[in-house]
Symmetry: C2
Subunit: 280 residues, 2 copies
């Protein structure tokens, strides 16, 4: 049985980190959902935009795997870039799509957690004021509909870089959203907050860069594992990531990487079969 996690929110949950900036994370026991089926995870996990890239879920899942060596984890990507909290209202397309994807996942997995990152599109005092209350309705309904009342929900802070970038004028109210996220986590059971302290952005000043997404995944996992808020960076985040990267690939993982190179035309058929055969 796969242990699955629902990924919802906006672009920083979907992920816009540049893959070239960080080591690859793959693991044949980390799956992602596509068309209602599971396949080995590769980034981008989301496909909400052509610019989808590295998000927080890959390092989250890799850390989960270190603690669950015999089990499989499945990621259910439902985040949508540029979506406001109102876009996530119960009955809307994003909410309904999430329900349908989650229900497909529940045919072959048990949902063990909800990962939420959203709020850049709600950076005004008016929107921040209602944020916690609106989020509560969405999450409560989602839990009821999917019968996952008790699973941990992890919510992450918006990046402190937001108001400094080229588009910083649109994000001056971001601390109010972060306050709302803390308030939400403090006032709802099975809900945990994660800091974005020290994390940095792509040159756009909007999206966490790939390295920051990897770190954010470490923090989300710590919150999930320990069932507690993460108000400060986790000790030795870099070392934790190194442990993930140092894991040698299995034969199955190597063959999937070869298959990809062959399919996109980077390797001819004979070379593909030769290298596949060399895997033993």
């Amino acid at each position: 049985m796969i242990h699955s996690f629902l990924m919802i929110g906006q672009s920083n949950m979907a992920g816009r980190g540049y893959a070239k900036d960080v080591p690859l994370i793959i693991d044949e026991h980390i799956k992602m959902q596509r068309n209602g089926l599971w396949q080995m995870m590769t980034e981008p996990i989301h496909f909400d935009r052509p610019s989808s890239g590295v998000g927080l879920a890959a390092s989250f899942a890799a850390l989960w795997r270190l603690d669950h060596a015999q089990d499989e984890i499945g990621l259910i990507p439902c985040a949508e870039g540029g979506s406001s909290l109102d876009d996530w209202a119960v009955g809307g397309a994003l909410f309904e799509n999430t329900l349908s994807q989650a229900r497909l996942a529940q045919r072959t997995s048990v949902i063990k957690g909800i990962l939420w990152h959203q709020g850049e599109n709600d950076c005004s005092p008016e929107q921040a004021k209602d944020y916690s209350e609106k989020l509560a309705v969405i999450i409560r309904t989602l839990r009821q509909e999917l019968n996952i009342q008790e699973v941990p929900l992890i919510v992450g802070a918006l990046g402190d870089y937001l108001s400094n970038g080229l588009f910083g004028q649109y994000f001056t109210a971001y601390p109010l959203v972060n306050d709302a996220l803390v308030h939400f986590a403090n006032s709802h059971s099975n809900s945990y907050f994660v800091t974005a302290q020290g994390l940095t952005a792509n040159p756009d000043g909007i999206h966490f860069n790939a390295m920051s997404q990897r770190i954010l995944g470490v923090r989300y996992y710590n919150a999930y594992r320990d069932l507690k808020h993460i108000f400060d960076p986790v000790t030795d985040e870099d070392k934790i990531l190194s442990a993930i990267y140092e894991r040698p690939y299995t034969k199955t993982e190597k063959s999937k990487l070869l298959e990809y190179e062959f399919t996109i035309g980077n390797m001819d058929g004979k070379e593909y079969l030769r290298q596949l055969g060399a895997l033993g």
Copy 2:
């Protein structure tokens, strides 16, 4: 109201053509579904594999647009690489995912057609024998569930290159599948067959290359428009494609392309704003 088209089948419906081999097709009035919402289509339209690439739907949609200058078309990607006809059985994950995605699309669009390409995974005399009957059950149920009994279904032939490639041994029975597809189209109303005559493959010998996918889209559209089988290549396929490529981009399309370059880090923020401003 968007006119939408359901895309189902296996990898050659999803598309594995190399984008670098053909001119770009974008059009602000051609949409694709993501997370239950519509956004401007960009290839890959599918995301069933990291190797997803050019499929037949982009040129299909572009031709539809030439005949519907005032309307919008929406593509609903549900094809899954490597799927057999049995994987598409009613009640299975692929079928249920298709239903859920189609129902999301029906909130804001009217489904006007079904595009099917599948069969490489059914290339044995035993599987080909039951192909038409099995497909009939799938399509009949899909039509009933979605209340789209009358919309045209277009089914395309498998490529004649299949038995010649490096993996040709697995596809020797492909003509039997093509016979079954013809039989299906001939024996069911609102169903039309499209030839793959003359189309060629990626070096893998399995997937239509990008140029062939563009041509296949022309044939699918002709079958759809004229409600007839396409047993021979369409006259002037290259000229038809040239007409698509020659269409100048609108301001919205140019700004979407700029946004993409900016988001993936190919253009810094100041240059992005400068070029965006220059669009007028």
